[in-house]
Amino acid sequence: MMNHNSDTSAFLSVRDVVVEYTSGDKILHAVNGVSFDLEKGKTLGLVGETGAGKTSIAKTIIRILPDPPAKVRSGEIYLNGEDILHISESAMRKLRGKIISMIFQDPMTALNPVKRVVDQIAEVISEHCHTSKSDARLRAVEMLKKVGIAEDRSREYPHQFSGGMKQRVVIAMALACNPDLLLADEPTTALDVTIQAQVLEMIKELKTENHTSMILITHDLGIVAENCDYVAVVYAGQIVEYGSLEDVFDHPTHPYTIGLFGSMPDLSTNIERLAAIAGLPPDPTNLPEGCSFHPRCCKATDACKKGAVQMEEISKGHFCRCCNTKSLEG
């Protein structure tokens, strides 16, 4: 489902987005030409290491990048055919919370410590659905019940909830107005493994109920396997591999993707040392020439050091950004 031409008929079409952060006199290249499509009701997993640019991509879609340091240099984002990257701020505000919602990584800090939980959810409802205050509060309580928080706890403050419950409140807040697109930025990273499963399950249910599309950002391949329809592997601000879940998991092609899968320990064999990918991710203020991965890639050739590398379709719907895909195949 990737098109580099002007076919922007998918529900969400991201085209060549470039985002930079300025810090002092340095420029951080956070997102370097990202393009992908997403259909209604499907889930795309954005996988990559910390600092690869996944969060920046999500924040660009919903346009809440911190404006002094961050700047969107170029690109378009089409939602139902409309380029939301270039509409006015007030038009975008109408979309936020109602059409596009975002969940953040750390539930401990995502909620306003001095407002009651029910009020924080009621706020988004009354903002977009033009209901009375009491109606909004009733709907908020309903939403809380849906995520498993009892009514008598709705008037409490965030500090009185555990991490997992806080995240459920966050999810209730994000889904209160039935958005079409949910951006979930590592929603379970800060939670215990058992709670992780519950929370993901709950997101899945609510999502299926409303046919919500989702972009799930994570660095955990297990979560991707359980929840995603499509996978995009992100490295140094670019998508280096994209395909359906089966394509990427069964036939990982890009050396980085292979490295990621290779570093997962296998339960059935004994090993003495973990296998890691050699080297460290590149400094975003000083990206390598040519392919960003070539300093760590053992298959790098001279061709890799020159010029930007384009995405190539290696099989239907499965793309890879590598000069040497032909030689890697088979």
């Binding site: 050396p255 290779g262 040392r273 990918i277 050699a278």
Partner: protein, 307 residues
Amino acid sequence: MQSNSVNCANESSPILPNRLQKKSNVKHASSGDLVFQTLLKKKGALVGIVIVLSLILLAIFAPLISPYSYTALNAKAVFAPPSWQHLFGCDELGRDILTRLMYGGRYSISIGILSTLVSTLGGILLGSIAGFFGGKVDLILMRILDIFQALPSILFAILIATVLGPGFNMTVLALGISGIPGIVRTMRASILSIRKIDFVEAAVSINCTNSRIIWKYIVPNAITPVLVSISNNVSQAVIQAAGLSYIGLGIQPPSPEWGAMLSAGRNYILNHPHLVLFPGLIIMVFVLAFNLFSDALRDALDPKLKK
């Protein structure tokens, strides 16, 4: 899921320690230089340092540079307004104000620095004791600190100055003692927060000796917020010293301390405002420059302190 045939990216390696290093906040000896370099790049710090150093140098070399002697009375030049012979004019006894300001710097600046030294030594010592030993010692010290801080610090300084009397040494002592509670609190809070940070636990777990932990890990990191407090204290001390002199404590005329000059000149402001204008101006310039420096210092140290 099966991995593809070509897997070249992985190598068998021990759990890489360099990732840990990348995120560590531990100050080594070299990061002091790093702070220094960052500081020098900031314009505010440079301007501040230059002005402060110039004033200090003027004060030190006053006998060599000043146009007149600071006690030279000149009956003909009483209340002379600013002119080329007397850049800042003369006071009620015909003494050149510029000269007196230069000599006055010796009093005012050294009061500021010395009293801060007293506060710092006392504060770091007590704050460290409270922070390290915790428990009952900490509790008692904090109660005592609450009592001391129930008095605004200027009031406390006035009280001590009343007991000790006016004069240079006494003023240093008064301001120094009244500044101790603030530094104790900062030092203690700093140590308590450092103790909780994981790298201390990590050091303990690799069997670091206590003294090594204290000197290499805790103290360097705990000192940094205190440094900002210290530079704030110097500015405050100079202003408070001037205030004390103004109300009759502190340094008294004929010593050319800047606050004393303000105090002596206040009776003549109607007709000869320059007696009051210039001493106040120089206090402001010195404090401003020092504040510029301490703001820049705080910014240079801050990114390393962000949680």
